[in-house]
Symmetry: C2
Subunit: 247 residues, 2 copies
DNA sequence: CGCAGCCTTGAAGTAAATCAAGGATTGTGG
DNA sequence: CCACAATCCTTGATTTACTTCAAGGCTGCG
């Protein structure tokens, strides 16, 4: 099923998060609800904590993140988003956001005004379920991040982070034979894993020397998936790959 | 507004998570959808990871938790639930659960069969939004737990955990002048905060000696809320207290 | 060429884990 | 009502993983 022609904006969402769950009519209604596609530079905060939610933002291309700052201004990443993810859909039922949303790379995004989301889900109850489900997938990832930070050591955390990202990129159809492209730096990984950049660097060296994986120039390459996932205590079922992804 | 008479099962949910957002008709429909109230002993796993979701469970009284096990069987708590919380509503759009759900104390619960939830939200789109919103509040708490584990030291983590629980208990109308009752032990706190029980004990002693708070016999007492919240970097806005709680 | 951003490595310091032992509290059966 | 067990809490000594501080080396780009 190629949605690319009939749904240029939402095709990756459909593949990544909503596959086989929307009718042609629903896809068409969703597609026309978006405003135009917009480009945003890397390292820009798009939405500030506390801001009222007027739109929902779909990430089409690039990498974004959500984060909370601590008192010294150090970030804790709460999630990393890739093409096909809604980055602030959870703000729709909550009215305002409880954290910041920023770009990590240059991105292309499209937005839907809040009222149009309201109208869409009133007209298509099934679409409401698909959108709810998408926010629940983010919540499932949140839970796994809690596990990662609460129970794993530095090597496990980094291994888990990259296991998740590589799996998601693959499920979204964004990985290829050369690896999975994730153009972020070691400091970003540190902010995701609750570690210092220095220590992430040391951990990456160990993982590289052990042949488990490499992360160089923004590309993830898995060397030994089995051992990497054992170290990470990683089980992809929380990404619901069987019910949600490309075949 | 006292829902206790007209909605004996869902009254605390309404107060805690859905206040002023449901019509009398919606409340009545929700109330009759529940099966009977059931008691469960302390420290029982109610729902296992991977289990298909046939019902949604509302916690009426007592304390429950969600958790993931690591390879040595040590738990990481993902959330703690009090009266008025749905403990597995997120499983409704996801079909199966990605973690375990267990009781920490004796509890009273009520369940709604999945099909009835489907029928209810088809009939009352507003109820769908209120339920979605409730799951989004859990996600907001997840995010704060990620921050807690990723950016705070042991004292901050424990202070943050108890700040959250005390606030939630108060918003749910479950706290009183003697403090906020949370009948769990230090090992549970350790599993929530990603620490060892020994270290939680040491941290609690410091917090007690500094006059910030005490936690004894399952009761939280806040000594100096301002300083506790500064230590915890705690800001209650993620609990949406203005829009959601008792007046 | 020279600068900026990012990565890498070393040495010293520290927060929390681990290991170990006892003490308090609650509940229970004689 | 007391003996005893079970559970939970408390404290000390040692070890360890990660941070912090510091410096230098790549790589790509204007």
């Amino acid at each position: 099923m190629t949605n690319q022609h009939i749904a240029p904006i939402s095709s990756r969402f459909l593949r990544n998060r909503g596959r086989n769950r929307l009718s042609a009519e629903e896809v068409a209604a969703l597609e026309v609800a978006f405003g135009g596609v917009r480009a945003v530079a890397a390292r820009k905060t798009l939405i500030e904590k506390g801001a009222p939610v007027h739109d929902s933002t779909l990430l089409i291309e690039g990498v974004m993140c959500r984060y909370l700052d601590d008192q010294q201004g150090h970030r804790q990443l709460l999630g990393v988003h890739i093409g096909g993810d809604f980055v602030d859909l959870h703000g729709f039922p909550l009215d305002r956001l409880d954290h910041d949303v920023a770009t990590l790379t240059e991105v292309k995004i499209a937005t839907i005004p809040r009222e149009r989301v309201m109208a869409l889900i009133a007209r298509f109850p099934n679409l409401a379920r698909v959108l709810w489900r998408s926010t629940m997938l983010d919540a499932a990832m949140h839970r796994e991040w809690i596990f990662r930070l609460g129970r794993l050591g530095a090597q496990g955390r980094v291994a888990h982070f990259f296991s998740e990202m590589e799996t998601r990129l693959r499920l979204a159809g964004l990985a290829n034979d050369n690896g999975a492209p994730l153009p972020i730096n070691q400091a970003d990984v540190a902010e995701a894993c609750g570690l210092t950049p220095v220590h992430v660097n040391r951990v990456l060296r160990i993982l590289r020397e052990e042949g488990l994986m490499t992360f160089r120039s923004g590309v993830i390459e898995i060397g030994d998936r089995r051992r990497l996932q054992r170290l990470a205590e990683f089980d992809d079922s929380y990404l619901y790959p069987d019910t949600d992804a490309a075949p």
